[in-house]
Symmetry: C2
Subunit: 283 residues, 2 copies
C-alpha cells in the first residue's frame, strides 16, 4: 500500500510518496496552477509522474492527496481529479486548494491565520476544519504582495528609478547581464516577464547581508501585512506561514510583522511533509 501527497504551486509541483513502511521518496516537477496551466500540460506532468514511479508501484498507490494552486473553485478540483484518476484507476483521489494544504500543514485541527508566501501570495482564516475568511488573491498584475514576483517588481522599481546604491546596482547588472534598456526589454517585449521577475528573489537571497536588500525584502512583507489589515480586523494576529519566500527571508518577515503588531508563529518551506504527519484527517 502506498500514498502520494502532491503540492502544486506556480513554480514547482512537489510529490511525496509514502510506502506501507512509512518510508518516503520525494521529487519535483514543473509548477501547475489549475486556473492557468492548460489541461494538456497538466496531463503531461501527471504522466511524467506516473512514468517516474513505474507501473508496479503505480498499481500499489491507494490514495492520492493533491493540494494545488488554483484549486479553490470546485470545477478546478474536478478537472485535476479527472486528469489524475485514469492514470491511477485503483487509487482514491482527493483534491484541495493549496491554501487548505497550508492550513492542514500548519494548523492541523486548530484554528489560525495562515499565509502562503511563495511565487505568489494568499492568506486566510482557518477555523480548524475549513477556510472561513479569505483575502482574495489577485495575481501578480494586481496583487500578490509578499510573494516572489511582487518582490521582484519592488526591486526593479528601485533599480529603474535609480535609487539603488551603485554597488548593488552593479552587482545586479552583472549577475543578470542586464542594463536599464535590457530590463525594460525583458519586462515589455518578453511574453512571460513574470517568470523573469520571479528569479530576482534568488539574487536577493544571496545579497541579504546588504541593508538595502533587507529593506526592500521587509517592504515586500510590510505590503503583504498592510493588505491583510483590510480583511482581518483584529488587533494582533499570529500568522502561520508556508512557502519558499517566507522561509528564505524569515528575519525580514518577522520584522515586518512586528512593525505592524502582528507575529509569526511558524514558517515552513514545504507543506507536504507536515501534511503527511496528519494524513488520516484529510482524506
Amino acid at each position: 500500500m502506498m500514498r502520494v501527497f502532491i503540492d502544486s504551486g506556480a513554480t514547482k509541483t512537489e510529490f511525496l510518496l509514502v510506502d506501507s513502511q512509512g518510508d518516503t521518496t520525494q521529487f519535483q516537477l514543473e509548477g501547475i496552477n489549475a486556473n492557468y496551466t492548460s489541461k494538456k500540460q497538466i496531463e503531461r506532468i501527471m504522466k511524467q509522474f506516473a512514468a517516474t514511479i513505474g507501473g508496479e508501484k503505480g498499481e500499489a498507490i491507494e490514495q492520492i492527496l493533491y493540494y494545488g494552486a488554483g484549486c479553490m473553485p470546485l470545477h478546478n478540483q474536478e478537472k485535476i481529479k479527472e486528469i489524475i484518476q485514469p492514470l491511477f484507476p485503483t487509487a482514491s483521489v482527493v483534491v484541495h486548494s493549496d491554501l487548505l494544504g497550508a492550513c492542514h500543514a500548519t494548523c492541523g485541527d486548530q484554528p489560525g491565520y495562515v499565509a502562503i508566501l511563495g511565487t505568489g501570495s494568499a492568506a486566510c482564516y482557518y477555523d480548524g476544519e475549513q477556510i472561513t475568511n479569505l483575502a482574495p488573491s489577485l495575481g501578480y498584475l494586481l496583487g500578490d504582495e509578499g510573494g516572489g514576483i511582487y518582490l521582484g517588481k519592488l526591486f526593479l522599481q528601485y533599480y529603474l528609478k535609480g535609487v539603488l546604491s551603485d554597488s548593488l546596482k552593479q552587482c545586479f547588472e552583472s549577475e543578470f547581464e542586464v542594463d536599464r534598456a535590457r530590463v525594460l526589454h525583458l519586462l515589455y517585449r518578453d511574453i512571460e516577464p513574470e517568470k523573469w521577475m520571479a528569479t530576482i528573489p534568488l539574487f536577493l537571497k544571496k545579497e541579504i547581508a546588504d541593508p538595502e536588500v533587507q529593506q526592500i525584502v521587509t517592504l515586500n512583507f510590510t505590503h503583504f501585512f498592510e493588505e491583510q489589515q483590510r480583511y482581518f480586523k483584529t488587533e494582533s494576529i499570529a500568522w502561520h506561514v508556508v512557502g519558499s519566500l517566507g522561509f528564505h527571508f524569515q528575519e525580514q518577515l518577522k520584522q515586518a510583522a512586528q512593525n505592524l503588531n502582528m507575529q509569526i508563529v511558524q514558517v515552513i518551506a514545504q507543506p507536504v511533509h507536515q501534511i503527511m504527519l496528519n494524513f488520516a484527517h484529510y482524506v
Copy 2:
C-alpha cells in the same frame, strides 16, 4: 509647401497636415511606441500614412516633425527617422520624444513642469529649451501611475476585492460581459491584458457621476502626484498636462493636485495643434 506634425502614443498616432495656406487636415492611425512596436509594424503604419495623403501631396511635404512615445533615446529617434525618410525623400524629418512634444505644446519657450497622462504616464521639468529633470517612466507593470492602464488596474483591484457597491459592480459586469472568473482569465490567460485594462477608463468616464468612480479616478492621480514628489522637491508645483486621461477627468485631476498642494495650469488633449502654432521654434 506642406508640413506634417505627428504625435504617436501607445494607443494612437495623430497626423496633422498643414498646407501653405495654413489649412489643416487631421487623421489617426494605430499607436506606436518606438521601444516596443516592431520596425515592420512602424513601417506599415507610415506607408499607410503616405498612401493616405497620396503621391502628389507627399512630394509637396517639406517638413515632418514627429513626437513619439519611446523616442527619448537617440537610437530610437534615428530608427523612426530611417523609416520615414525613404517614404518622403525630399522632406526634412525631425524626431523628438512625446514628452518634449508635451513641453513644446504647453510651455513653448517658457519653463514648467509637464506631465503626459494618457494610456501611460510621464513627467518632467522643462527649462524652456530642454528637459532637465525626468521622472523615469517604468511602464504599466511597474509604474505609469496616473495613466489609463494604471486606472484600469486600480478599478479592477476594487472589483476583485469585492469592495465596490453592488450597483457599480453590476454595471461593470454588464458593460464588459464579465464575472470574476472571466476577469481573471482576461488578465492572466490573455497575452495582452494591458490592452483590455486600457479600455476600462472609457467605462469610468461614462459613470463619472458615481462618487465611487470619482474616488477611484482621483486616487489614480493622487498616486501620480505622490510619485512625482520623489523627483521634484519643491513646495508647490504648477503642472501643464497633456493627454486624454488628464483631459477627460479634469475635475478629479485638479482635486488630486490640490490635495497635495500642487496645481494644474492647463490640460490639453492633443498636443499637435498647439505644437503647430509654435512650429518655427522646433524644427
